[in-house]
Symmetry: D2
Subunit: 360 residues, 4 copies
Amino acid sequence: MKRIGILTGGGDAPGLNAVIRAAVKTALNEYDCEVFGIKNGYDGFLEEDGIIPLGLDTVRGILPRGGTILGAVNRGNPYTRTLIRNGKEETVNVADEVLAGVQRLGLDALLVLGGDGTLSSAHEFYKRGIPVIGVPKTIDNDIGGTEITFGFDTALNIATEALDRLHTTAESHRRVMVLELMGRDAGFITLNAGVSGGADVILIPEIPFSFESIVKKIRSRNEKGASFNLIAVSEGAKPRDGAQVYSRAGDEAFVPRLGGIGQLVAEYVEGQGYESRVTVLGHVQRGGTPTAFDRWLATRYGAAAVRLAARGGFDRMVALQKGEITDIPIADAIKEPKRVNVNSDAVITARNIGISFGDE
Amino acid sequence: MKRIGILTGGGDAPGLNAVIRAAVKTALNEYDCEVFGIKNGYDGFLEEDGIIPLGLDTVRGILPRGGTILGAVNRGNPYTRTLIRNGKEETVNVADEVLAGVQRLGLDALLVLGGDGTLSSAHEFYKRGIPVIGVPKTIDNDIGGTEITFGFDTALNIATEALDRLHTTAESHRRVMVLELMGRDAGFITLNAGVSGGADVILIPEIPFSFESIVKKIRSRNEKGASFNLIAVSEGAKPRDGAQVYSRAGDEAFVPRLGGIGQLVAEYVEGQGYESRVTVLGHVQRGGTPTAFDRWLATRYGAAAVRLAARGGFDRMVALQKGEITDIPIADAIKEPKRVNVNSDAVITARNIGISFGDE
Amino acid sequence: MKRIGILTGGGDAPGLNAVIRAAVKTALNEYDCEVFGIKNGYDGFLEEDGIIPLGLDTVRGILPRGGTILGAVNRGNPYTRTLIRNGKEETVNVADEVLAGVQRLGLDALLVLGGDGTLSSAHEFYKRGIPVIGVPKTIDNDIGGTEITFGFDTALNIATEALDRLHTTAESHRRVMVLELMGRDAGFITLNAGVSGGADVILIPEIPFSFESIVKKIRSRNEKGASFNLIAVSEGAKPRDGAQVYSRAGDEAFVPRLGGIGQLVAEYVEGQGYESRVTVLGHVQRGGTPTAFDRWLATRYGAAAVRLAARGGFDRMVALQKGEITDIPIADAIKEPKRVNVNSDAVITARNIGISFGDE
Amino acid sequence: MKRIGILTGGGDAPGLNAVIRAAVKTALNEYDCEVFGIKNGYDGFLEEDGIIPLGLDTVRGILPRGGTILGAVNRGNPYTRTLIRNGKEETVNVADEVLAGVQRLGLDALLVLGGDGTLSSAHEFYKRGIPVIGVPKTIDNDIGGTEITFGFDTALNIATEALDRLHTTAESHRRVMVLELMGRDAGFITLNAGVSGGADVILIPEIPFSFESIVKKIRSRNEKGASFNLIAVSEGAKPRDGAQVYSRAGDEAFVPRLGGIGQLVAEYVEGQGYESRVTVLGHVQRGGTPTAFDRWLATRYGAAAVRLAARGGFDRMVALQKGEITDIPIADAIKEPKRVNVNSDAVITARNIGISFGDE
């Protein structure tokens, strides 16, 4: 193994730089192997100056930093791209360009750090002869075959701290506080942070909720003497089929107003007579310095990916299982995204301690 | 001085519990004076069980906690209140009730922790014979006569950390990140956090902005090679008179959609071709454990308020001037709210280092 | 199941209160079962006022708090205790007292939160007829049969943040910074935090080190242009047999001076001509608010322990395996303490990225 | 003003990079003035490659980073230096070298970021014709003429968080926790953090203490039902003249053992029968990301220093007074170091709330 490439695709996840750093150090220290960084996902193969050598100097000091020194893009179609070449617009096949780039650079392996989408295209590119190695990346923790992914723990801590802060305000001022968190399809962030931050109601994509059920919970808590309520809601949480949403006036149909589901929940609850406030954390959850765990996991992934490349384990992805790093076929990881198991001990525990999922 | 009362009014501010703790300890240790807590602002005087004794046990462990152990309310009219007494609705004069309560309890002083509104009513109540002592409370730092108030520093650190996190994501993904912060009338939080968090554009109530100017700044930065932009905007920031806001389609009038000014800015910017994301921190800024500075200031305020009461300095407010605790007439504090001085070294510095206020 | 007891033994671990809260809520909500808190480990059974009822009010707000509301003790011999009763000194058999207490209160189960020592005595007490349920507690992560314990993640984040801070100072001032961390017998905290915090040298109990090797590493890094070095050392790290330690003067035998191994390493390194500073984090690692992960795990343990009690699973301990809560015989957990596997992917990764364990 | 130089001297202080960044941006944006960074204090003038151009690229992203991109040294004698030149050892006069460097580069001003020592030499160098501008730098907050310096607030927050964490452990385990903090001559960090972190005893250089007094305080608290004690001690705290220190055995003279004053206090207290633990935070207090306040203050200092240079205000230092940036003669700043005023409201407040300074 003389030369490897590395790229990051999709959204941000704290720990990307830790993966890059560990991969570069392992390649240099253990295999005397050169490393090239491909900038902006696969786009680096299509752009001038899109590929840079990565040495010890390049990765010095990046361990605690969020983001990715390679940049990343989140594009619709990963297979074709329209660009301007030699003055005219051209639609190119990305796989062709990547293959050409890999051959031109003489890369023995291409480490691809990405989520479902990026890994799926990596798997396709492998069929075209590109020696891909996958590293799972998602703050949503929704990639199959691995117990946990880096970035998730950081997101959880940020969300939990926000709940802690909302808690004291809610408690002192008798309010319903709504916190909208990331998670379009998977509710892991909201479930875990909700439990860790002492939420009373948790709304996640995997468990459709009714607005009435939320208010029932608030009313029941207030009757028992509680004077505040915390609601953690995934951006992808969905009202049950046929769930009726009434306006404040009560007698006319409620028109969902702009803003996410968090805003909607807060407005409904306020319409029922409970003063409400909403916070939308947004990309604050994806950025900044990774937690100790995320750096630890990311570092192990980065070094393991290089060792996997040295063994020729192409079309495979590094994964965490039972606390140990292993590797699995990329195909296994992407065949079914991970979702919150509504019968898991975690969900049962949440119900045991009195948390409502809005489905009662 | 045998007995004093203490109450907290208005919105949350990290440090309220530290004030209460210091006041209780000082009263007991130095003056052998009993302390009573009035719950839910002045309402405690109107409610059964609205007044509780405060001893060392009550204040143990509350120093690092956000919120207020006394509860707080944020009501419209502080002078009259409608309530149910002896089975029938009655409108009462709050000053009468407070005076009656103060006399019934035999309070030698009433410590009032509050913002503009609460302090204004305290000043009126003093004229009715109530021995009030003021303690300034506002996370917006907009009370006159004192250099700084507790809660402000905590809000700044939360907002700055959010900017740090948005920064890495913006940088890696070439986006415009918009962070909406508290500050309906005063831009201190946004100005300070914007400078501390490396914002490129800062929009505050004191400096009306134009949407065009924001985009001009983004364009100029991008031309110089920057690939991301951070915008910090006060909830009370206002577009200049006559500022035109166009829709994405470009040819029809832009209809401001629901959501705060942060959402509006993000939509405008995205409409001009720059991918944008918005975060609304909301009440996360007001809650949770206070910073070291806020605990320090709050503790000094609490002890100084009791010493001021012992000296009979009624109708006065403790204040910080030149780093020392002093006291001033409440009337001076409320006569003119504090605003960002647009000619201060702070604003000049912000402009010096290239920050746009959207007014160029 | 009508009544259960709960106690915490041994050193502090962030998350204890989260376990207690979840257990109380689950017992009340799901089993309509009363809960009693035994104060100060088993000692609560021997003391007047040593047992308190735990209701929803008692556990409100304790989720984010470090420590344990039940108190804890760390005593030498858990089987006998000498105390004053009816005016005279008496040596009592703890198991007798616990059994008597359990019968007197009519406890159907006794939840024991503890480390190796406390769990071992719990196992013995079970043989005497006490219906014990174990919950593993150790910030060192050295209990067998469970992948991870609460408190560990919090300790890691504190240690990693300390390394981050030392890093910038070391870098700017060309120093060797030594950080002594907890871990008398197991090096998990130091290994993980060392990797996450970018340490150059990691010294753990499982890998005996030589002082010469540390200096060799420093010299080699300096030759490559690095101007600083970070050393993370477990309090239980041990020099290799026969490792020679020379004094600063160079020609006389080094007399190990007072202070822990961190101090010793710093002095040796300074004696070799490299300016050094030492930080001893001590109990800062054990206290304060738990991380999101620790609250999450602790909550799941607490609820699962009650469910296990309801199923009659005595003499068993809740455990985390493959990310799911399960339970195992206490005997299995205590038969062999967990240690860092020096051939694990984690240690291999650390070496891959250039970290020295002082054994080269 | 065409060219300015900037250097950082002495120990680390979070915010140095923020000063450098603001100075570079202000110089470029407002004065179209080149900036040169002198590496490693004045040493950059003596070394090859000791001077680097500072542009917008150099300062990008450094705002949140601790340390200094220029490096710093803490040397004994700032006026002469022995070095190897042209193969032979030579003792040079630093002022001559700095003057030569300033003339060679054509610097119109030299911004010197430093503490007492560095500012004193800057004042001397000015007499030799070097156009120095001072920026105060000390985490101890002990420079005269300015209300506060950057780095101090960061140190306070780190120390306060450590006290928070020790608090929960002390509370649960009935211990005396000792935290040794920075402050060789000035007790500001320990006083402020001690109050903010709820310490029971605060020992600072300005108030000599007796060991007996500490134990008296512990005993008194325990008699009132408290079961733990927190002691915050400055590294420079000094026992009173004639204070007697007895060994554990009680009858032989206590031999102060190695380790700082924190260790000594812990050992004495333990010798009196109270289980004790010590934490030495060390350089953790000086490093890492600055708080919002420190970034804010540092940014204002950096921009103001450049504006001061443009006005020709040499031999002067930027300072914070009444919340505004101003400037004063360096001579005024260095003539008397700042110390804790033992009659200030801060110390009075600490005593009011029951804190002992060990001098009763």
